[in-house]
């Protein structure tokens, strides 16, 4: 029987932190996001996103940690 994959060493793309801890509280109702809630990390290009469902208020939302806020410059008259 083929060997199953074991616990592999983490690659350079991995971020060594606790996704659940990074988004610890619901921004809608303030409840703690424990294991009864749902916090799932995914990536869109270089943007890290946490998809969250709050068990207390049932709110579904995405959290995007932001290091820099960029916008376009208004057109000059």
């Amino acid at each position: 029987m083929p060997e199953s994959a074991g616990a592999a060493p983490r690659g350079e793309t991995a971020i060594d932190d606790d996704a659940q801890g990074l988004v610890g509280f619901c921004p809608h109702c303030g409840a703690e996001l424990d294991v009864q809630s749902f916090v799932q990390e995914y990536w869109t290009a270089d943007e890290r996103v946490f998809h969250v469902w709050c068990e207390r208020c049932r709110y579904v939302f995405d959290v995007r940690p932001t290091a820099r806020v960029t916008t376009h410059e208004p057109a000059h008259e």
């Binding site: 199953s4 994959a5 074991g6 616990a7 592999a8 294991v35 009864q36 995914y42």
Partner: protein
């Protein structure tokens, strides 16, 4: 990534676990009807070992170990009143109540205080389903493929060495089709000079997922197609919590992923062949069951066919996939949605309510019709051809009958005469 704690919550299925409690709200097939004769058979479901036996028209399900000295009830005697352990002859009724203890004093009331664990079983569509949850039991859903007539059926089966959730996640991961069953298939088949896949290679442009009454409907737009095509307008469902509906061009399939325990899944490929056309199919005496091989002679996964490729992908993630060490992207949103749906349903069950898809209304249960594309991947017949010849159906004992049925149906559409197909397998 997902936290290890949440991964545990979503994958453990034994008695008393949150997911085990949720999953015990549903019926699961554990055997084909043809497998249960006069002798009992043993199975494991949701981490519990059970023995099934046939008593007249009824099927009994009892815990596998005799409450007396723990010998296996698989080797028991089936009698008019129930099942009698082969070791010392303790007799149990269908409800598990101990009725006789032959070696105990005749005046003993000891038997009155012994009751074995029992569960419910029902037969439908050539399969035996078991319910292990609390009373009152919900109805066994009569999904269309289980109750249609004028069609052929067969059932492929394999016992797989991984947790059931990673199998289900595959059903909301449309992109894997073009890669695993297209590019990878053709890489493998190219080495051995076998026929290449064409339809399964088609590139995905857009995917979407909608929760409905029985699970999640999966939609896709392939390159060169639009939202007017059936792959988007109709789609096909993941049937919550443990089934996929798939097929096209007159081939319909349930892939039923039965959680055996935390690290094993009993996989049924329930095929129904019902092409459009004017024909009559003689009823099958029984639905043939066949084993789907997953290993080659060297012990490697068989990866030259669709379902073998799936098994490789599921099993090579490990017995329970380490989701704390994964890196999901936007193309994985279907997988994320399914995990969230499970988490929401866990909460619903903990609140005392039925989870998604539990059927208790008899008025809707004559035949529950599920959506499925016919003109799949823009070409029903092309998809069917690759699915039949490059899928597990190639191992079916009625594979030739199936191909003949489709030929006859096509002829009837061309010629207009009803044809009689005799496949009393």
């Amino acid at each position: 990534m997902l936290t290890t704690e949440l991964n545990e919550r979503l994958t453990r299925v034994g008695p008393g676990t949150p997911m085990g409690t949720l999953l015990r709200h549903y019926w699961y097939p554990v055997a084909a009807t043809s497998e249960l004769g006069p002798e009992p058979i043993q199975r494991r479901l949701l981490g519990e070992d059970i023995v099934l036996y046939r008593k007249g028209d009824e099927i009994g399900v009892i815990e596998a170990q005799c409450p007396h000295r723990r010998a296996s009830m698989r080797y028991a005697i089936v009698e008019e009143r129930g099942i009698r352990c082969g070791y010392h002859g303790w007799l149990y009724g269908m409800d598990g109540q101990c009725l006789e203890q032959p070696a105990e004093p005749a005046s003993s009331t000891f038997k009155d205080r012994i009751k074995a664990v029992t569960y419910r079983a029902e037969e439908l569509g050539g399969l035996i389903f078991v319910y292990m949850g609390k009373d009152p039991a919900p109805l066994l859903p009569r999904f269309d493929l289980f109750v249609w007539d004028n069609c052929l059926r067969d059932v492929g089966h394999a016992l797989l060495p991984m947790n059931w959730l990673q199998v289900m996640e595959n059903s909301v991961d449309p992109h894997h089709v073009e890669w695993l069953h297209g590019h990878y298939m053709n890489f493998v088949r190219g080495i051995s000079g076998e026929q290449q896949a064409e339809v399964l290679m088609r590139k995905h442009e857009k995917i979407a997922f909608d929760v409905f009454d029985y699970g999640i409907i999966k939609r896709r737009v392939l390159e060169g197609m639009t939202e007017e095509d059936e792959d988007w307008k109709v789609g096909h469902p993941l049937v919550f919590p443990a089934m996929l509906r798939v097929g096209g061009g007159g081939h319909y399939q349930f892939q039923i992923r039965v959680p055996v325990d935390d690290t094993h899944t009993s996989h049924f490929w329930y095929d129904v062949y019902k092409p459009d056309g004017d024909y009559i199919v003689a009823p099958q005496e029984s639905v043939p069951l066949f084993e789907v091989p997953i290993y080659d002679e060297k012990g490697d996964y068989l990866v030259d066919f669709v379902d073998g490729q799936d098994v490789m992908a599921w099993a090579s993630q490990g017995e329970i996939a380490d989701r704390s060490n994964e890196h999901l992207g936007k193309s994985d949103l279907g997988v994320i949605m399914l995990r969230r749906l499970f988490q929401e349903q866990l909460d619903q069950v903990e609140g005392g309510a039925d989870p998604l898809g539990v059927v208790r209304d008899e008025s809707i249960n004559d035949c529950i019709t599920l959506p499925q594309e016919k003109k799949k991947f823009g070409t029903g017949a092309g998809f069917r051809y690759e699915f039949l010849t490059m899928g597990q159906c190639r191992y079916s004992p009625i594979a030739q009958d199936v191909l003949k049925l489709f030929e006859e149906a096509e002829k009837s559409l061309a010629g207009g005469d009803a044809m009689h197909h005799d496949a009393s397998v």
